[in-house]
């Protein structure tokens, strides 16, 4: 997208903006007032199943989110409800096009800007249209890239907040949006008769996996028996041991208590989705470094819970970590080393 001004780049002072449309009250970047903010152009987004996930994300980060879509402009405050700030109108479309141009985002493209609490652009992703399909992946990769810099000294709270924003929104915001393989679930009633198989598309570790299953199939069995992703373990099969823990839209859940068919439309992350090539996720490395297992059966579940724990960022003391990790049982009793690994990984990132 050509524009008269220089496109925004990382390190620059963020553009201030005000969108009016036909609304009485403008929506402007000054609302962030010293908080980090995210400006997301997600053309096909509308409030839905991911709304609560986004809200939870913001709550942990104290950030404000502006979403620009074809259906209007929304603002999310961490301590408030979703608000449709400006309804679509011709005037709003013109303003959005102008703002997009300043950010280097074309009128049909998705893009995102992450601004820290000092008003500096820390992440900008404005893909050309042929790259749109990989927006979520690009965000996710960027988040991991930032998270995977454990050796960089003097990493600040501000850096951490920005990384969390990028990684977090990579997981939840762009799920099902922006021309990716997965369409948002059609708003029609789905029915499968008893004893018949149903076709489902599961989004696992950033890939769409199509499979035909009996509706009784748990997400755990779908992963292990149908997709050969056996890193997720079956322990009790009743939600009591945590060996089957995976991330659903970034949050730890028991795959054994989840029907696979009911997980359609969610972003599922398993232990196989953590490493980048040969580079282990910091928590995987920390579990090895701290000898945080003996037989290893519970380990993938422990690590997935720990990934969510560090991402959510609420549990800090050893006691808080123990409490949040209490859904993961280790029969070898490696708990002291598991806690040590988690606390060490927290320091690394």
């Amino acid at each position: 997208m050509s524009s008269m001004t220089t496109p925004i780049a990382v390190g620059m002072v963020a553009p201030s903006f005000a969108l009016h449309g036909d609304a009485r009250r403008a929506l402007s970047s000054s609302e962030a007032r010293g908080r980090p903010w995210v400006l997301a152009f997600v053309r096909r987004w509308s409030p839905g199943a991911d709304t609560e996930a986004i809200r939870a994300e913001l709550r942990g980060l104290g950030a404000i989110l502006f979403i620009v879509s074809d259906a209007g402009v929304w603002s999310f405050r961490p301590d408030d409800d979703l608000e449709l700030s400006i309804a679509p109108s011709r005037q709003l479309r013109r303003e959005i096009a102008a703002l997009g141009a300043r950010c280097g985002v074309g009128t049909r493209d998705d893009g995102v800007l992450v601004v820290d609490d000092a008003g500096i652009v820390r992440f900008a992703h404005a893909p050309s249209s042929e790259l749109t399909s990989s927006l979520a992946d690009a965000l996710d990769a960027a988040g991991r890239e930032l998270l995977g810099l454990p050796t960089r000294p003097g990493i600040t709270r501000r850096d951490w907040a920005v990384m969390s924003l990028v990684a977090g929104f990579g997981l939840v915001l762009f799920h099902g949006c922006g021309g990716r393989g997965t369409e948002p679930a059609a708003p029609t009633t789905v029915v499968a008769k008893p004893g018949t198989e149903i076709e489902v598309v599961l989004r696992i570790n950033g890939q769409d996996r199509r499979l035909k299953i009996d509706p009784r199939t748990s997400l755990l069995d779908a992963l292990r028996e149908h997709l050969a992703l056996t890193g997720t373990r079956k322990g009790c099969d009743h939600g009591q041991c945590g060996a089957c823990t995976v991330l659903r839209d970034g949050h730890a859940v028991n795959a054994c208590l989840t029907l696979a068919v009911a997980a359609e439309g969610a972003e599922i992350t398993t232990i196989e989705g953590l490493a980048r090539g040969d580079r282990l996720h910091p928590l995987q490395a920390a579990f090895i470094e701290h000898d945080a297992f003996q037989c290893g059966y519970c380990t993938s579940g422990q690590i997935m819970s720990a990934v969510a724990l560090l991402r959510e960022g609420r549990s800090k003391t050893d006691d808080e970590v123990r409490q949040q990790m209490s859904g993961n049982i280790c029969r070898c009793g490696a708990y002291p080393n598991i806690i040590a690994a988690i606390q060490a990984a927290r320091k690394e990132v």
């Binding site: 609560e52 709550r59 029609t188 009784r216 208590l257 989840t258 029907l259 068919v261 009911a262």
Partner: protein, 326 residues
Amino acid sequence: MKPFSYVRPADAKAAIAAAGTEGASFLAGGTTLIDLMRLEVMTPSAVVDLGRLAMTAIERAGDGVRIGAMARNSDVAMHPLVVERYPLLSQALLAGASQQVRNMATVGGNLVQRTRCPYFRDLAVPCNKRAPGSGCSALDGYTRSHAILGTSPSCIATHPSDMCVALAALDAVVHTRHGSRERAIPIGEFHTLPGEHPEVENVLGQGELITHVELPASPFAAHARYVKVRDRAAFAFALAAAAVGLDIADGRIRGARVALGGVATKPWRSAEAEQALVGQPPARATFERAAAAAIVDPKPRRDNAFKVALAQRTIVRALELAWGSP
């Protein structure tokens, strides 16, 4: 697991229609339903997945708060409105289950959570709740986890929820929809006592959908506490739990709320304990009198007689902590 038809409706109207047939069951978080379906304790003919329904909002409603039935327990517990206005609810939710389960379980699902009585979960033995008329195995069984209040000769199963105990103390109202009919059910009238029909646990009709829960304005936020006593400090059901709130003015208790969990067949509000508190100065002696008044005509059995004293001490501790004594 028995075969079932899976239905994922796009809106509440379709959900209510799909769940109207005998044997159909709503699926919310699945933490109870899928578990019990795998044991074949529950064998619904149709599972109506509520996952696509937009009922997750947590929002102001006047001076109160309105919580969508599909709001996750973890999101409710951490929501600033809940933390600020209803710390009791936040504490109770965080005392329940594991992080994974709290991330899945919903407010609506928690209201209809089934008991953890081991005989209910064991197909090999009689259970009036699971198979009406077959008998109660708990009566002559191991009763350490069972109820001492609200029991009947048919059933002594404990209501397992932490959340519902806080809701009972907070005068929550459960809102439902059934066809075009909507109703508002005070929490105290939502759950039913086992009596001769322990298979009936609440007043919902077949296909009646819980849409949201409303909490009225509460003067108890400053002095509220949920205390849960259990065999281990996390991920265990209550042996006894107390949800209390005090409204203190000029050195006197102006209003009080006391509800019990882990000891009764439904979330147990104690008007007797509340009466014993109102008008009195907040002090240990007052709290002990209230605790003594709370347990009326208990029916302890061989292995759970300790729950009488435990429940009373739990109430005293909760009141002390709510008041602010160390």
